[in-house]
Amino acid sequence: MGSPFSLSRLWGQTFGQVFGQKASTGPATPVSVNNEACRGLDQSLPLEDCVFTVFDTELTGLNPAKDEIVSIGAVRIRNLQIIQGERFHVLVKPEMPLPKFSTLIHRITPERIGQAPALAQVLPDFLAFLNGTLLVGHYVELDMSFLSAACKRLYGQAPANPCLDTMLLAMSWQRRLQSAYCDQFDQSISYTLGSLSKRLGLPAFPSHDAMHDAMQTAYLFIYLTQKLRAMGIRTLRELHRPARSQSYGL
């Protein structure tokens, strides 16, 4: 109960949203097809039987109301293994001109996305790739807010995939480790993807590329899930508690 990360106040709402929803009566959209695939989700499933999609986006800025997606990278995890052959990576041409400061972060230049398709063209492919899988991201709420905004705008409906946040997972794992040794929770630790990966000794990917960040997050995710499994966490429900995204949890 104690931690602010372990409980989502949106639990009931989101859950109800996914499972209480009436089957859509309108024409099928890429989102509704994906959401339909989410319905069968069984929370008591052992982790190794779950299918996850780890994803990351690069953005023009941080405001979902105004900014846009410029790149999506995603990779599949089955049997808690990263599947090299199941990856998704696109560059997207935003409607707004690419702000210079964002280029400085993700190194995507206006020139590079000049030939890229618009989000409306690639979103169906991405939703088909998601296909009702569990989503994983590092600080996933940010990526999810952009994805939801885009889906609502294009299809009037947000994706219902439950999300897991590797940042929350890492915090929870760290807390478990530390409570075994001392009571103090070390607030000074950085939980950015880069510093976490470095601290845990993961193979390092160059950051701020959607595909590399997705791969890095995937490495982090299998690391953390295996570590937590060794502590007795076997099912999605048990894993979900610490890692549930606050807004997009189960």
């Binding site: 090299q84 052959g85 060794a230």
Partner: protein, 640 residues
């Protein structure tokens, strides 16, 4: 359906496999196919991956990060460690090839990420490139050893080659070491030849009636004369080459070489103004270049002062470099080095005997350790001893003591100046303990053999590698026969020696790519002698003594052990290859240090090795472990 519109990606898994043997052998298309089929797995430290004869292996696991130990557990639950596998190493290849269950137990010792290649994808790669099965199926295969040798060679030849510069900068006058040997017109061929022998020269100038040299006769001319059946009493000028070719002392060596090549001659008289100051040969220039071992050989044997021998060491190094560049194997290189060093020693003692007068009794200089094994590299201390004939009367014994004390003290000092540093353990002939009569030496060895204390064994190992240096060889031979007989009949001593040979544990493998010293000034380096070569030397020594083999060099001992079927042929062959490879790495390392004007040592930085060298090195350590197991079995040793 995935990755449409995909930007061009750097795929880190692809990059990882591309830098990892044997997948680095795949072409781009095959590698891409392979990478697409990989999955990445993570297992925390302490997870059992394989259970022997139980686990089905459905993929080859390449360690991307972390480490795994392989071990075998017997019925009683006792665990024997077989190997550590670090980054870039593979797991499960044997099981896949044999289509069998896991052959060993495996457990992660660190948090480990694997790139797993599913069975089908693996065999697809195997079919695409024969280098892949070869890598897995041939341990320490000839192909890879050869390739690793080639890599070493390539690295060594990047070093600057200054020897060619001499050709263009050094004046021929500086090559002249002595006034020319000159004889007057009218001397018979036979007398001319005698004169050449007396002065130990290869050419003779013939003085004309004007007093100036009018021609030259050389060894070649004498040879021709004999072949043609010319009367030896005929005047020498009938066979001389005239006119005499000359070159000014200020000309550079390159000009001299061009002049010789243009006229197809090997001798040139050097002039200073009108006067002939000496004769140089094409050999002199080759020696200068340091290109020919034979040239150095010849130069050593013609030195007439001990001081003249001091600079020979530097030339010896240049010879070794040439040999490495030409692709000679370590065994040949160390043999050549030993021959040259033997010759330096021979010449040095000859000159010293001339200086001190003849010894009161016959003696033989003994070379031991690496010199005794003919395995000298560039960082070689002196390890020597002296044996002299038993003296019938005590005044002779005293005279011998006085004489050899002076003799060895000087010899050791001169050797040090020739570039063979003194032995830190004082195992040198100048130490009275290592300077004895033949019967005293026999007693010493008998003592070592019959009452082997651990310290005695440690002490004595290098003595068992002795061979005859200059002097009365029969003394050394007799001592060797004595020891060979004693050792073969004394099992307890050999067991102690075998036990001692087990002390030098070879690193099991490269764990996290390196097995290195963790502390001190040699941090992150690997002592290739202590950790790599020593187990081979110790093994060959004790097995040779046991089998009555008289040879002292490790390679020869191994070859004899193989020939006598004292050792499985495969193991002997692998041991020879591995030993030679380690020796080669060591030589090149030392040569590299010499190039940088640093003291040669045995500390290799594994980070500077290529993947192939690392892999071969790892295999070599594996062979060393196999040798120790053989030793353990042969002597039924119980090891902790």
């Amino acid at each position: 359906m995935t990755e449409q519109n995909a930007p061009v990606d750097r795929d880190l898994v692809r990059e990882f496999l591309q830098a990892t043997l044997p997948f680095s052998e795949l072409d781009a298309t095959a590698l891409d196919r392979l990478v697409r089929q990989c999955v990445i797995d993570f297992q925390p430290a302490g997870v059992r991956l394989f259970r022997r004869d139980i686990t089905e292996v459905d993929a080859l696991s390449v360690i991307q990060k972390g480490g795994v130990k392989l071990f075998a557990q017997d019925e009683s639950g006792r665990i024997s460690l077989a190997d550590y596998r670090g980054e870039g190493a593979c797991l499960g290849a044997m099981a896949l090839f044999k289509n069998a269950k896991a052959g060993l137990d495996a457990e992660t010792v660190e948090d480990t990420f694997f790139v797993k290649i599913p069975r089908d994808a693996f065999f697809e790669a195997v079919a695409a490139n024969p280098a892949i099965p070869r890598y897995f199926l041939k341990s320490l295969s000839e192909t890879f050893t050869t390739k690793a040798f080639a890599e070493i060679r390539q690295r060594s030849s990047e070093a600057p080659d200054e020897s060619n510069l001499y050709l263009f900068s050094l004046q021929v006058g500086s090559l002249v070491e002595r006034a020319p040997a000159m004889v007057p017109f009218g001397l018979t061929i036979q007398n001319a030849a005698r004169e050449m022998l007396r002065q130990s020269v290869g050419s003779l100038l013939i003085q004309g009636s004007s007093g100036a040299a009018c021609g030259i006769i050389t060894d070649t001319d004498i040879r021709k004369a004999v072949a043609l059946g010319i009367d030896m009493q005929a005047p020498a000028e009938t066979i001389m080459t005239a006119p005499l070719e000359t070159i000014a002392e200020t000309a550079v060596c390159f000009d001299a070489l061009i002049a010789m090549m243009g006229k197809n001659i090997h001798h040139l008289a050097i002039t200073s103004g009108e006067k002939i100051i000496g004769v140089i040969t094409s050999h002199d220039i080759m020696v200068l270049q340091g290109r020919s071992p034979f040239a150095v050989f010849r130069e050593v044997s013609t030195r007439s002062t001990i001081e003249g021998l001091y600079p020979m060491r530097a030339k010896t190094c240049r010879v070794a470099r040439t040999l490495v560049e030409e692709g000679a194997r370590a065994g040949n290189i160390t043999r050549i080095l030993s021959i040259i060093n033997d010759l330096v020693l021979q010449r040095l003692l000859e000159l010293l005997l001339k200086e001190l007068g003849p010894p009161p009794v016959k003696f033989c200089w003994l070379v031991m350790g690496s010199e005794g094994r003919r395995e000298q590299t560039f960082a070689t201390d002196q390890d020597n001893a002296l044996v002299y004939a038993d003296c019938s009367v005590d005044y002779l014994e005293r005279a011998a003591e006085v004489y050899f004390e002076a003799f060895t003290a000087r010899a050791v000092e001169h050797l040090a100046r020739c570039g063979f540093p003194r032995c830190p353990g004082d195992m040198m002939a100048s130490n009275p303990r290592w300077r004895k009569s033949l019967s005293a030496w026999k007693q010493t060895f008998d003592h070592w053999i019959s009452s082997p204390e651990p310290s005695e064994v440690m002490h004595s190992t290098i003595f068992f590698d002795f061979r005859a240096g200059p002097g009365e060889k029969s003394l050394a031979d007799e001592l060797r026969s004595h020891i060979t007989g004693r050792c073969a009949e004394n099992d307890i001593f050999l067991r102690h020696m075998a036990q001692d040979a087990m002390q030098a544990r070879p690193p099991l493998s490269f764990f996290k790519n390196i097995v290195v010293e963790k502390n001190g000034e040699h941090k992150n380096t690997l002592d290739i002698k202590a950790r790599g070569l020593l187990p081979f030397m110790d093994f060959a020594r004790v097995m040779a003594l046991r089998s009555g083999i008289r040879q002292t060099s490790t390679l020869e001992r191994l070859a004899m052990l193989k020939a006598g079927e004292h050792l499985p042929g495969d193991l002997a062959q692998e041991a020879m290859e591995a030993f030679e490879f380690l020796q080669q790495l060591r030589l090149v390392h030392q040569m590299d240090l010499l190039d940088r004007n640093l003291e040669p040592n045995n500390r290799i930085d594994p980070a500077r090795l290529t993947a192939l060298e690392k892999r071969t090195l790892r295999d070599a350590f594996g062979v060393a472990t196999a040798l120790q197991s053989h030793l353990k079995e042969a002597f039924s040793l119980q090891m902790g």
